[in-house]
């Protein structure tokens, strides 16, 4: 969750960012929430694009499949060290909501930017280096709601982390 918070906050700040080959892509400033944390009511008006501030709620849907593998670490002082790595196939649901003025446009923009960002390998490389890899986002799905316009972006991925108690080195 912390990694996702860092990653999303870097983009959804109301500024422009280069995403892959696309230069100066405008991102709305968004409220970021995780699991069941409550969204502000009503969502505040945003300073950017003349649109309201959307809220993105990330819900982790749990590990589906888990496996381990011994791998040789590459680079650095631990190069050649064999380490048992655990992989978990997981999925996240991103609920994108917006309210007040231009809520449909705001919600659509935020959901489209999010899906595009998650599908961009260059931009998610930093997440991959920290163990959140093989991201496969789906296209945003619109869900009707009256006081919030709501869209869902689902994203499958793989978590990769070392099992620290089981490390060995080739001698």
């Amino acid at each position: 969750m912390k990694l996702w918070q860092e990653f999303l906050a870097r983009y959804f700040d109301g500024g422009t960012h280069n995403v892959g080959a696309a230069q100066n892509v405008q991102f709305p400033a968004a409220e970021l929430h995780f699991q069941q944390s409550a969204v502000s009511q009503p969502l505040p008006a945003g300073p950017n694009l003349g649109l309201a501030t959307p809220a993105i709620t990330l819900v982790w849907t749990g590990a589906r499949h888990r496996w381990t593998a011994w791998e040789a670490l590459a680079g650095g002082q631990y190069a050649g060290t064999r380490q048992e790595i655990c992989y978990e196939r997981v999925a996240w649901n991103f609920w994108v909501r917006a309210s007040s003025a231009n809520m449909r446009a705001t919600c659509k923009l935020a959901a489209d930017r999010l899906a595009g960002l998650l599908g961009n390998r260059g931009e998610t490389h930093a997440l991959g280096a920290k163990g959140v890899c093989r991201l496969k986002p789906s296209a945003p799905v619109a869900i009707q709601e009256t006081d919030y316009v709501l869209r869902l972006v689902t994203c499958a991925g793989t978590l990769r982390y070392p099992i620290l108690s089981q490390v060995t080195s080739d001698v």
Binding site: A91, N93, W95, V141, D147, L150, L152, T154
Partner: protein
């Protein structure tokens, strides 16, 4: 040099393939396989979407927190076999409380339908709801006397329901007098039930649609992996 053929093994394997796929498919689509993940997905989704309704007093006719209703929604989830697969449904656990006039109209329409022979079950859901509410009132608020000692709450509720929904002309004088005495208490009870903590219909609709979308994504995501796993297990069986 001896040339051997493995063609018989290949033919046997091909013959088994459709059977293996059918077996793996039926195991993958077994309701028990999906019940837990679908319930968990619905719960996570509703916990994420529910709002605390900050600023609303608990007695303002709305819930103090939408989180209070999540478990009631989860309890309505049903996963059951359907043809060669399964279906899953979640419904609104909070049906709207109708007024006495609505029930009277339902009873009148039912009588009319019975006379025309167009189906005795018409409107029975509404009338069962009315019977249930009268029974609740009998159980919680009615001052019982010696006439009630040998009757269950359901019997009393059913009789009072009959009195209240039957036109005056069809009742005896004594029954009409009892009806006039009971009606104010029942009206008061129904009005209080209508003002209880409830979710608005837009929120209920949004919750049902959101859970449906989350379920759809979950099944699409999970199905291939589960099917592959079951197929490998079937093929490994002797």
């Amino acid at each position: 040099m001896k040339v051997e053929s493995n063609i018989q093994g290949v033919i046997d394997r091909l013959k088994r393939k459709p059977r293996d796929i059918r077996a793996a498919m039926s195991r993958t689509l077994a309701p028990a396989e999906w019940d837990k993940p679908l319930r968990e997905e619905a719960k996570r989704t509703l916990w994420a979407l529910a709002k605390p309704n900050v600023g609303l007093a608990p007695n303002a006719g709305l819930a103090s927190s939408e989180w209070d209703f999540v478990d009631a929604f989860i309890d309505t989830i049903m996963v059951a076999p359907f043809l060669t697969g399964f279906f899953v449904r979640m419904s609104n656990p909070l049906p709207p409380v109708l007024a006495v006039e609505d029930f009277m109209m339902a009873r009148g329409l039912q009588i009319m339908a019975l006379r025309r022979g167009s189906g005795p079950m018409l409107w029975s859901d509404f009338l069962n709801q009315f019977d249930q509410m009268i029974t609740d009132w009998v159980a919680t608020e009615k001052r019982k006397d010696r006439r009630d000692w040998d009757k269950s709450d359901e019997d009393i509720g059913h009789f009072i329901g009959y009195l209240l929904l039957t036109p005056d002309a069809n009742l005896s004088e004594k029954e009409n007098a009892a009806k006039d005495k009971l009606m104010p208490h029942l009206r008061d009870y129904l009005e209080r039930r209508q003002k209880e903590k409830r979710l608005n219909s837009e929120t209920i609709n949004a919750w049902l649609l959101a859970v449906l979308a989350a379920w759809s994504a979950l099944v699409r995501r999970e199905f291939p992996g589960r099917f592959r796993g079951h197929l490998a297990a079937v093929r490994a069986e002797l």
